[in-house]
Amino acid sequence: MLKFSTGLKFAAIASVVLIAGCTTKPQAAAETPPPASTGPMTSETQSSSVVAGSEQDLKVNVGDTVHFGYNEYSVQDEDKTTLQRQAAWLQKFPAVRVTVEGHCDERGTREYNLALGARRANAVKEYLVSLGVSSARVDTISYGKERPICTESDESCWAQNRRGVTVVAGGESS
């Protein structure tokens, strides 16, 4: 377990370096499976190495993920502060464009979950826009149930998988 988390840390650092190293690369950002993250990390050592306005900044210092109820797509109250932080962060880095990914748990047909994921991504986008973020800066994409971050077939896992993740799609600081 210790070994695993160390590896994870290395992977995280490696991806920071990788992303910081290149200027704009939308495909890479979209294609790279995000390192497992369910909310803002508290580790001081990591956040200090993060470039402000970068994807990692968003992930680590702002919080990139919100969660949804089963077969639900409205933003939950406890997630609104996360999105408010995201909106503020987006105001702070006006060049940054983001894509909101909508994800579902495995309990739904493939097609239905693609549609549900789109609803979730759109709900996040609408909330960000309601907080003053230009809709032109926020794109959405649905992955349905195809990109889980947890594979057990139980409620704790399903809850983690029902999520909206905001990722930087361009204009990030380097």
Binding site: P26, Q27, A30, E31, P33, A36, Y73, E106, R107, G108, T109, R110, E111, Y112, L114, A115, L116, A118, R119, A121, N122, A123, E126, T140, I141, S142, Y143, G144, E146, P148, I149, T151, E152, S153
Partner: protein
């Protein structure tokens, strides 16, 4: 005179009336039987030239496997045969096949022709009826021996069951590999029996829900190749893929119309998913649903007059049917749980669907008015049914509990003969081709 005639007729009628039941012999109503695979003996096909012996063995082997896999036949072990077929043109000694309880016997012969083609003959015999049921002959290039085998299987299947076979078909599917949290998904095709698997995409982008067109030449599917999930067409002959239309947001769940000229699919806009039909010749697009609910997974009826789809407009995901122009949208599934991915049988009599009760998913079938729904599969997460071209067998995706991978399974429409389909590694989203032309 006339009165006498009437009286005479009455007498006749009386005689006939009494005589008829008198001649009625005992009638025995048989309403219960014993459904079981038909035992069939398929010796290796004879080869007058020793150099053709391997082909004779291979062809018989594929036919045996095909029929066995259908669940309607029991291919008897050649080791149990007490007779050896040398002349396929003479009726067999039926008693020698009754000894091993064979009801059917297939004899065949392969002969390389001077022009380089392979000639394959076979005959199907009714062992108890002591008659030939079928006899066919094929010429082909030797490389095609597998297809010939499948065609022979189809002919036997059709003669015995009364319906077309499905062995000379292909399956397009998603080949899955890699860890559960970073699945690699590639478009792939294979023969119905799992032979000849070919990967069509590399797996560096996700692909989902492939469907054959009626000529089995073009595949419609969803791909993330551009970073955006969109419906694409893949031409098997050229290997070229092309985005279908140019839509601002996600397009998904494509399915061809029965004539192959249209694709019904779902367009998502601002989180709302609706069903559209695109004409592939004119690229004209017609919107069929306008509901703010999720409307997706359209499937044409074989006569193209109707489209089944799923919608959660009533609160939960259920199956609806509408006319092909979008009119008369009405719900047909009222059973417990959620119901989705309706797929109209090519036979026209049933709609297969994915049912979710509690946390698990099963494949079900219902009549096209929604009546007679029954669940036929029994996995943890079974979804995405696809029909064999004869409407008799279904394949579907089975995801194992706890992220332990995906498999393709097949099942008879009666719920019998559930079995795993051989695939290169994990696989999902099968779609059955029509019979190859």
């Amino acid at each position: 005179m006339r009165r006498i005639g009437i009286a005479f007729a009455a007498v006749i009628a009386m005689i006939v009336g009494f005589a008829a039941p008198a001649s009625a012999q005992l009638r025995v109503d048989v309403t219960q039987g014993n459904v079981q695979p038909m035992p069939i003996a398929i010796p290796n096909f004879a080869a007058p030239q020793p150099s053709d012996a391997a082909a004779g063995q291979n062809i018989a082997g594929v036919v045996r496997a095909d029929l066995q896999r259908s669940g309607l036949f029991k291919s008897l072990d050649p080791k149990s045969f007490v007779d050896h077929i040398t002349n396929i043109n003479a009726p067999p000694t039926y008693a020698n096949w009754r000894v091993i309880n064979a009801q059917g016997l297939v004899t065949g012969q392969v002969q390389m022709q001077s022009d380089g083609r392979l000639r394959v003959d076979f005959r199907l015999w009714d062992v108890y009826g002591e008659s030939q049921m079928l006899g066919l002959q094929y010429f082909t290039t030797p490389e095609n021996w597998r297809r010939i085998s499948h065609m022979i299987s189809d002919a036997i299947y059709e003669r015995i069951t009364g319906e077309k076979g499905y062995f000379d078909t292909r399956i397009v599917f998603i080949s899955e590999s890699g860890p559960a949290l970073a699945r690699k998904k590639r478009l792939a095709v294979m023969d119905e029996d799992g032979a000849n698997p070919i990967f069509l995409t590399r797996g560096d982008y996700m692909v989902l829900t492939p469907r054959f067109n009626p000529s089995a030449q073009i595949i419609a599917y969803m791909s993330y190749i551009s970073g955006k999930p969109r419906v694409y067409l893949f031409d098997l002959e050229s290997g070229r893929q092309q985005m279908l239309g140019d839509f601002p947001e996600m397009t998904f769940s494509p399915r061809f119309s029965p004539d192959g000229n249209k694709v019904a699919m779902t367009l998502e806009k601002n989180g709302n998913s609706d069903i559209y039909v695109m004409d592939l010749r004119t690229h004209g697009v017609v919107r069929l649903t306008t509901d703010p609910a999720i409307d997706t997974a359209p499937s044409f009826s074989p006569d193209a007059s109707k489209i089944a789809f799923e919608s959660d407009r009533g609160g939960s995901q259920q199956i609806y049917v509408m006319n092909a122009d979008g009119s008369d949208q009405h719900r047909i599934s009222f059973d417990a749980g959620r119901n989705g991915t309706p797929v109209w049988s090519p036979r026209g009599d049933l709609i297969a669907f994915s049912n979710q009760s509690g946390d698990s998913f099963h494949i079900g079938v219902m009549r096209t008015d929604g009546s007679g729904a029954r669940i036929i599969s029994n996995g943890w997460e079974d979804e995405g049914p696809t029909w064999a071209p004869n409407g008799r067998v279904l394949m579907f995706s089975r995801t194992l509990r706890g992220g332990h991978g995906s498999q393709i399974w097949s099942i008879d429409v009666t719920g019998r003969n559930e079995q795993r389909v051989q695939t290169p590694g994990d696989a999902s989203d099968p779609a059955w081709s029509p019979l190859i032309q």
